[in-house]
């Protein structure tokens, strides 16, 4: 589904990704953990070309993203992204946030998009908030709207960048629940998260990233309970 080959990314002189190789299978849930500044966000952002790649190759479902001929907008519309700080559009209602993509990118008729959007909002448990504005929602509700907004594009893959780390602890559960449902429906997901419970229950594999490389990978139980690399051990001992 996703193939990453020798991915490098530099900001000026600062090499942030120093050669990432990864193979992510269809319907797999990959969790990425690692210290702040290790390049987790940059890695995700390279997967939908929010950052242009310095060298290496990223292929998603047969489209080589790093090929200059690729239609970036089409690729992005097929890769959903959920941000730590939600980034909802504050000047649009919840429903408009969700329907904007289908209407403007896919050319879906307005009426059909509204029905579809309402269905997705129901799915994330916010059917009654369609006409509300984002500012009136809690963080957890905002993040669920953001998930619905991404789902509206019917993506092949969903990327989550610390989706719960800006939330009050009591709001984390609802968001994880929605993500869990998605995983159970067979969505391919790459999730940067330190929610060990989620990673263990839903994750198929965990990457531990440090200093721009994947230091260790394995199944969630092994990584969390029996890490091999000393850096992984030291990182986990700090966050757990």
């Amino acid at each position: 589904m996703i193939t990453v080959k020798d991915l490098h990314k530099s900001f000026g002189d600062n090499e942030v990704l120093k050669g990432i190789d990864a193979e992510i299978k269809s319907q797999e849930v990959l969790c990425v953990i690692g210290p702040s500044g290790s390049g987790k966000s940059t890695f995700l952002r390279c997967l939908n070309l929010l950052e242009d790649v310095t060298s290496g190759e990223v292929e998603i479902d047969g489209d080589v993203l790093t090929d200059p001929k690729v239609d970036i907008n089409k690729v992005r519309s097929q890769v959903g992204m959920v941000f730590q700080h939600f980034n909802l559009f504050p000047h649009k209602t919840v429903l408009e946030n969700v329907t904007l993509g289908p209407v403007k990118v896919k050319g879906m008729p307005e009426a059909e998009a509204k029905q579809y959007g309402a269905k997705l909002l129901g799915k994330v448990g916010l059917g009654d908030k369609a006409e509300a504005y984002p500012e009136s929602l809690s963080g957890g509700q905002k993040q669920r709207v953001a998930i619905a907004r991404s789902l509206a594009m019917d993506p092949k893959v969903m990327l989550f960048d610390e989706p719960t780390s800006a939330l009050d602890p009591e709001l984390v559960g609802d968001v994880l629940e929605v993500m869990k449902d998605l995983a159970n429906e067979g969505m391919t997901m790459v999730v940067v998260t330190h929610e060990m419970g989620f990673a263990k229950e839903v994750g198929d594999r965990v990457f531990f990233m440090d200093e721009g490389v994947i230091m260790e990978e394995g199944d969630p139980n092994q990584i969390f309970d029996n890490p091999q690399n000393p850096r992984t051990q030291s990182f986990l001992s700090k966050i757990l």
């Binding site: 939908n48 992005r76 519309s77 992204m81 559009f89 990118v105 509206a152």
Partner: protein, 183 residues
């Protein structure tokens, strides 16, 4: 005219070119860094060769002056929109143009309203400077009047009242617009 000048500069590709950046930086800095009175005189005397007349000089001067400030207001407002908004737009597959049109501009526009209103009132008052190049605006006429009648204070108070009659309703309208837009 003044109000259309700056937004027209929003043509994106052009905005991004280094050439344009350079020109617009110089333009904005020169206008902001020099007194408007000097600008008015400069345009008037600088363009005597082409003999366009005082009124046209005055219009050119105020347009260039307000244009620089408006350009800064527009730039500042667009710049103040969180980068995440742009990214979220691109992430759902909107093109750069669509992202600007549907996401960034509507939010930036709201933030422009108060400073634009402010600038409008300032520019309105700046027209009084045209008296120095004998454009028959209110202050110029007032000067001619009190030069012969010596009713200096009475005349100047009338001038101020004249300006207030225009600016106060403008302020009120602006405040209503702001409230409606919930800025």
């Amino acid at each position: 005219m003044v109000l259309f000048w700056a937004p027209l500069q929003g043509l994106e590709d052009f905005l991004k070119s280094i050439f344009f950046r350079w020109i617009s930086t110089v333009y904005v800095e020169v206008i902001r860094g020099t007194p408007i009175l000097a600008q008015v005189l400069f345009i008037y005397y600088g363009l005597t060769a082409v003999n366009i007349g005082a009124l046209t000089s005055a219009i050119i001067a105020i347009t260039l002056n307000a244009g620089a400030y408006i350009a800064e207001i527009v730039r500042g407002a667009v710049h103040s929109i969180d980068k995440g908004q742009h990214e979220a737009g691109r992430a759902i597959g909107l093109t750069e143009k669509q992202t600007m049109r549907y996401i960034v501009w509507p939010q930036a526009f709201k933030r422009m309203i108060p400073p634009l209103g402010n600038q409008f009132i300032i520019s309105l008052k700046d027209t009084s400077l045209f008296s120095v190049i004998a454009v028959g605006e209110v202050l110029y006429m007032a000067k001619q009047y009190y030069n012969s009648t010596f009713e200096i204070f009475e005349t100047l108070i009338m001038v101020c009242i004249f300006y207030l009659i225009i600016t106060i309703p403008t302020s009120i309208i602006l405040r209503n617009v702001e409230r409606k837009l919930d800025v």
